[in-house]
Amino acid sequence: MIRRVLLPMWAFVFRDFHLTRRYFSWVVVFTFYAIVNAATIALIGVAQEDFRLTLTLVLGALLWSYLSAMYQEIANSIAYERWEGTLEYTFMAPVSRLVHLLGVSLFATFYSVVRTGVILLGLALFVDLDLSGANLWGVLVVLLVGSLAFMGLGLMAAILPVMSPENGAQATNILQGVLLLVSGIYYPVSVLPPWLQPLAHLSPATYALEASRKLMGISHPGSSPGHLVGAPLGAVLPELLTLFLMGLLFIPLGLWVFARAERWAKHTGKLKRTG
């Protein structure tokens, strides 16, 4: 167990931690941009003097920052390997794709949580956030359960750089853009064109946001700028169950799709250092 699972899984955490450390200036640049981006969105609510709108935008920015960072870390893990020239060595190691995914996801979760925390601190410089009364632990539970589905989506997207070394990495951004559009991150899904709305039901971010808004008490009639009336975790069980089932479906599906893509790449010779 230790030799076959835990040590190989830890290897990916070890590698990604040291790569993040060595590319720290880039991490600072991207985090700074994310803080500024979140602040400019949140300030729209401040300008409207509407605390519910402000909280909706802040929650959207933070939740999307977390989920998109996790998705990108997993989806781009293959593209990074190809870019570094290490793809062949990682793939010829005696490590199952599940262990590979778990290792990459473990660091991605840790990294995304820290990054989102830093963005929240940065946002506090621009927006007066009083979250008393919000069920923040409940939001954390929703994020962690929602992470499972995003891991599966990331894994499915990770096949794109395997199949197309030239354009695959860019294509992962299209999928991410579609998720951003249809999940109602900053607006209710009901404002989307009717033909687009069914796609919202397929995105885990939609359910994570719906649940988080309830837990924060954003729409609760009794909430005021000084005191929010957050819902208990039991009130979002349907969303939690949906997110869990999505994770249960997307992770094995992602592994299956990835295994097919890997086999195809081994037939066509796409599993090369540089593509």
Binding site: F14, R15, A93, P94, G269
Partner: protein, 260 residues
Amino acid sequence: MWAIEVENLSKVFRKTTFGRRQEEWALKGVSFRVAQGETYALLGPNGSGKSTLIRILSTLLLPDAGRVRLLGLPLPQEERKVREQIGRVSVDAAFYKKLSPRENLLFAAQLYGIPPKEAERRAMAILERLGLETRRFGDPLEEMSRGMQQKVAIARALLIRPPLLLLDEPTTGLDPKSRREVQGFLEELRREEGTTILLTTHDMAEAERLAHRIGFLARGSLVAEGDARALKELAGAQDLEEAFIRLTGEAFAQEENHDS
């Protein structure tokens, strides 16, 4: 027991350009065997299929026809068991260049289930033997010379103490001193550990020094094999290069573009 058994191995790469389907045969019915503890060198120009063959043996590529058994295990059925027992060094030292040798080696070791302390001990011993200054163990690899990077690549392949080592032009681009150090280390490895080595190279002298037997690979086919003396006698040639040209009808300087 044979360490490597390759039978009628073929690989074709297909691509479509402007609606035209093209086929390039990288390997055409290649067969050879390598005994345990033997060093076998594959000689061939660029595009002869050497790297394709190494990739198939490394479990990174699936053949279109033929059979492969490594250490008695069939591929691709026993892929995982084979992966646990092979080390590979490719022509370019493929590393996370911002990471140090220590970080790269510990990552690789943990992938194979070797605890970090044990991996560090093994890596230091190999790198010291290869003449790498261990005080540079923590510097980013991108700041190191090609020779130093290649020594770290060899250390990575040897961390798991593999019974079978696949070396794809491991000394290409190294300075003469580094090349001699690597060659000396490979000889020592074979002598002391009994490691089986499959080596591809352009370097005739290297093949003659290291290999028990040599195979001439040209345009995806194994044209001739034997020890250096037998090949020279077969071709009626003074040296290996001349023997290669006579037996394959191909000069070594010839460049082709379809090596995969």
